[in-house]
């Protein structure tokens, strides 16, 4: 990208949380930086959208210009991470994984390959498991993210974490946070009917230490425990 290209300018504007509170619903950035690209146009201020939480890129009604973050510029991304509202200021090319680890200090989520193959970076976004190395933080504006740090409540481990310990489902532990997040989703999706089914639906998570046998047992156990609780 050439820096001499005519771009829009930055506009800082204060957003007031929709209901004036910082409650869970009032999930809006209080300040943001938006670059509006309007061809060779000069700086344009984009009026803040009212409305749903997390709609940080809302434009004024009738404004069809596309919201743009310029090269080398940063944007504030508001996320709900493990139930807490967090804001990171990142360049567009920063992955969700790097934002979590390097900006928010949540290093439980691991980087194994940075190319979608190992699953160590698995987190839940909106309840769905995804690989956080394959998504940009800026694409997750307003998202609800759950990392391995968000599973336990206080000192009480999540049933899947307990099952991993009970079944010795790791050696070095490098893959474990990703395995656990994937297992939480796998159980939630109902893909635990048999060992074969678990293996198939946990196939996006590799373990260099080959603790697979015990991982499958732990997932099965946690799924069974979950069923008992639900009954």
């Amino acid at each position: 990208m050439r820096s001499d290209e005519p771009m829009g300018g930055f506009a800082d504007d204060a957003l007031v949380p929709a209901d004036g509170e910082h409650g869970a619903e009032a999930f809006m950035p209080t300040r943001r930086t938006v670059l509006v690209s309007a061809g060779a146009a000069a700086a344009v201020t984009v009026a803040a959208g009212k409305g749903a939480g997390g709609a940080a890129w809302a434009s004024a009604a009738g404004d069809t210009r596309v919201r743009t973050v310029g090269a080398g510029e940063s944007v504030e991304v508001a996320l709900s991470v493990n139930g807490q509202r967090r804001t990171v200021t990142v360049e567009p090319r920063v992955t969700l994984l790097d934002a979590l680890r390097e900006r928010l200090g949540l290093t439980g989520t691991k980087k194994g390959c940075d190319r979608g193959e190992c699953g160590a970076c698995t987190v839940l976004v909106g309840g769905e498991r995804i690989k956080s190395c394959l998504t940009l933080a800026v694409m997750r504006q307003g998202a609800e993210v759950t990392t391995v740090e968000g599973l336990a409540s206080g000192d009480e481990l999540h049933p899947v974490q307990e099952a991993f310990i009970r079944h010795d489902a790791f050696q070095c532990g490098g893959c474990t946070p990703g395995q656990i997040m994937s297992a939480v989703a796998c159980i939630d999706e109902g893909h635990t009917g048999s060992d074969a089914e678990i293996r198939e639906w946990m196939s996006g998570n590799l373990c260099r230490c080959a603790a697979y046998q015990n991982i499958v047992a732990a997932v099965q156990d946690a799924a069974d425990a979950g069923k008992k609780v639900r009954r």
Partner: protein, 292 residues
């Protein structure tokens, strides 16, 4: 790298027209690998995940139902929402990557990448799918057979986006099979799709990862049209299945690479062709006991 975040299709098309060099990103499962490893330094990224129109599918009201599948519908939804109507596409979708990849990866992205190994391509070829592409200049429908123009090349103009894929609802058995180095999360060494069309006493066959582009095995299709004993009950003759496999193998133009040799690909495709034909034919026999 600029980052563009349209929220409507019109905005997205306007942005693509203004900046044809902007690289669209949907599920990101191909684009992000290139970015993370600096294989690609686009001047701009065009984030399509905010465009609601791309994330929907619908069924046409006509009697011969056609599904219009938005380019941004992830594989997980294709499997759970369209498995019955588009069985071949759902089968291929189930083999893509891992659950995490399927939660994000899209058919539009598969088409954008146009890798010869992309899993949906053989299915799009055998189902007679048409790719809907749009730009500020208008919308056009490109038959899948004309969409793949070379290794990782497609028929999109620089200002165009894939907006949807139009697929007729299945009228007969469909099959997809792929060979990989393990059971899950593999790029196909080779892949094969087959669709039987009992109403027209016809069949379509296509190969993946065994030529510069995904392609139909036309001679093999013609052979099936002439030889399949539609009115006759019972299993297919071995000689018919073998000949079909040979013709499929002859349609390939494979290379040796890290995933497999050309000779292996040819051999494996003949095997996949025989097997999928057996499954599809048996399925067909079960569906129509009256005419069997």
């Amino acid at each position: 790298m600029d980052f563009l975040r349209p929220t409507t299709l019109d905005e997205a098309l306007a942005a693509k027209a203004e900046r044809p060099g902007a690289v669209p990103i949907a599920g990101g499962t191909d684009v992000m690998v290139e970015l993370n490893f600096d294989h690609r330094r686009p001047e701009a990224l065009l984030d399509l995940t905010g465009v609601g129109e791309l994330a929907e599918w619908s069924r046409s009201s006509g009697s011969d139902g056609e599904i219009r599948l938005g380019a941004g519908v992830p594989y997980t939804r294709v499997i759970t929402e369209l498995g019955g109507r588009l069985p071949g596409l759902a089968m291929a979708s189930r083999t893509v990557g891992s659950p995490q990849i399927r939660n994000r990866g899209t058919v539009g992205g598969n088409l954008g990448s146009a890798s010869p190994a992309g899993d949906t391509h053989p299915v799009l070829l055998v189902t007679g799918a048409r790719v809907e592409v749009a730009s500020v200049r208008g919308t056009r429908l490109i038959p899948a057979t004309e969409f793949y123009t070379g290794v990782k090349r497609n028929a999109l103009a620089p200002d165009e986006l894939v907006t949807a894929v139009h697929l007729p609802e299945a009228t007969g058995p469909q099959q997809f099979a792929k060979v990989g180095t393990r059971n899950a999360m593999v790029i196909a060494v080779c892949s094969f799709a087959l669709a039987l069309d009992p109403d027209r006493a016809a069949a379509r066959a296509a190969i993946g990862s065994a030529a510069p582009t995904p392609r139909r095995a036309v001679a093999a299709e013609r052979f099936l049209a002439e030889e399949l004993p539609w009115g006759t009950p019972g299993p297919l003759r071995d000689s018919l299945k073998r000949r079909f496999g040979e013709l499929v193998a002859e349609a390939t133009e494979p290379i040796d690479d890290v995933r497999g040799t050309a000779a292996y690909r040819r051999h494996a495709l003949a095997v996949l062709a025989r097997r999928t034909l057996t499954w599809a034919w048996n399925d067909q026999q079960e569906r129509s006991p009256s005419c069997a």
